[in-house]
């Protein structure tokens, strides 16, 4: 259920931007989400459909692009990327050490919108 407050925030930002460029419609919203987030894309879309009803964003699609996380190895400080799968069992590519610190993976960004202008 935590997708709801996020979706409300996204809607507010997207509408602000769309209105500032005099858009008459919104086709698509592209998000970049760090893999550490437990987001269910179907829920985001469902909440989006609900919130956007009767606005220029009605019927638009929310696209989520997952962003890999960066881990710093706890032994040799090498930085490497992990995705949703390898995140639970990361291994340093240089020294093979299994423990490290997350440097990124927490992103929540709107990276683009596709708008319609009459």
């Amino acid at each position: 259920m935590h997708e709801l407050p996020f979706t409300k925030g996204i809607f507010k930002s997207v509408m602000r931007k769309a209105e500032s460029v005099n858009a008459t419609g919104i086709n698509r919203v592209v998000l970049e989400i760090g893999v550490l987030h437990d987001f269910i894309p179907e829920f985001v879309q469902r909440y989006w459909d609900f919130i956007s009803r009767g606005t220029i964003a009605e019927g638009s699609r929310v696209e989520i692009r997952w962003k890999n996380a960066t881990v710093m190895c706890g032994q040799c400080n090498t930085q490497f990327e992990v995705d949703k799968e390898t995140m639970t069992d990361p291994k340093c590519p240089s020294c093979g050490y299994e423990f490290g610190t997350m440097l990124s993976g927490n992103e929540l960004r709107i990276i683009g919108i596709e708008i319609v202008k009459e």
């Binding site: 925030g9 069992d89 997350m102 319609v116 202008k117």
Partner: protein
């Protein structure tokens, strides 16, 4: 009709991050440390916090912000100890955000406090997503919940500095594997501290409280 794609770089939580900074600035000015306590429902947050206050109450002046979806049960317990308490009812909301923290700060006697504790809504997902402006974030994990929670809720285990493993007194009845918890949680948060504790028997509380004391100073 034109279709146009506009590149953006807008943080979805920009508003909350701004509010969190405001909370931090205000508390810095007032010299108050904000300690965020997160966990699942029923892991023993109120019991643990109460015990910490009893043990450190002569050295620090505490205040508590109680965040619950409904009810004022926890706030009443704190109030009975004579601790300044503000109850926030999220009314169905699954977490606390920085704006709500700010609201609670307005009702707190900040000039008379050293440490302000947030007892967050019992939930391992949402509270990890929202910066409330805290200086220290920790979590509780009770023995019956099991050691695999850090695999299921990775974000929570990367935003906390310490895990207090509570209800150690019932450990003989469960198969909680400390080695597995340590291994799995250190994969993404190598500096995470793990303190096995039981408020009931007092086990591990000296070490936990000593560590907290260092964080408050």
């Amino acid at each position: 009709m034109d279709i146009e794609y506009i590149d953006l770089k807008e943080c979805i939580l920009a508003e909350n991050e701004g509010d969190a900074q405001e909370v931090r600035d205000l508390l810095k000015e007032k010299n108050v440390i904000l300690w965020n306590v997160m966990s699942s429902p029923g892991s023993g947050k109120t019991t643990f916090i109460t015990d910490v206050i009893k043990r450190l109450g002569s050295q620090f002046r505490f205040g508590v912000i109680e965040a619950d979806i409904e009810s004022t049960v926890d706030a009443e317990k704190m109030h009975a100890l004579g601790i300044p308490t503000v109850q926030l009812r999220t009314g169905g909301g699954c977490h606390l955000d920085a704006a709500m923290t700010m609201e609670a700060l307005a009702k707190m006697p900040l000039d008379d406090l050293d440490v302000l504790i947030i007892e967050n809504v019992g939930n391992l997902v949402c509270p990890a997503e929202f910066d409330v402006g805290a200086n220290i974030a920790t979590m509780l994990l009770s023995i019956p919940e099991g050691d695999d929670k850090c695999i299921k809720y990775p974000l929570m285990f990367t935003v906390t500095k310490a895990v207090f493993v509570t209800k150690m007194d019932v450990a003989p009845y469960f198969d909680f594997n400390f080695e597995a918890l340590e291994k799995n949680s250190h994969r993404l948060n190598n500096d995470l501290r793990i303190f096995p504790v039981s408020v009931k028997t007092g086990e591990g509380m000296d070490e936990a409280v000593e560590w907290l004391k260092q964080q408050f100073n």
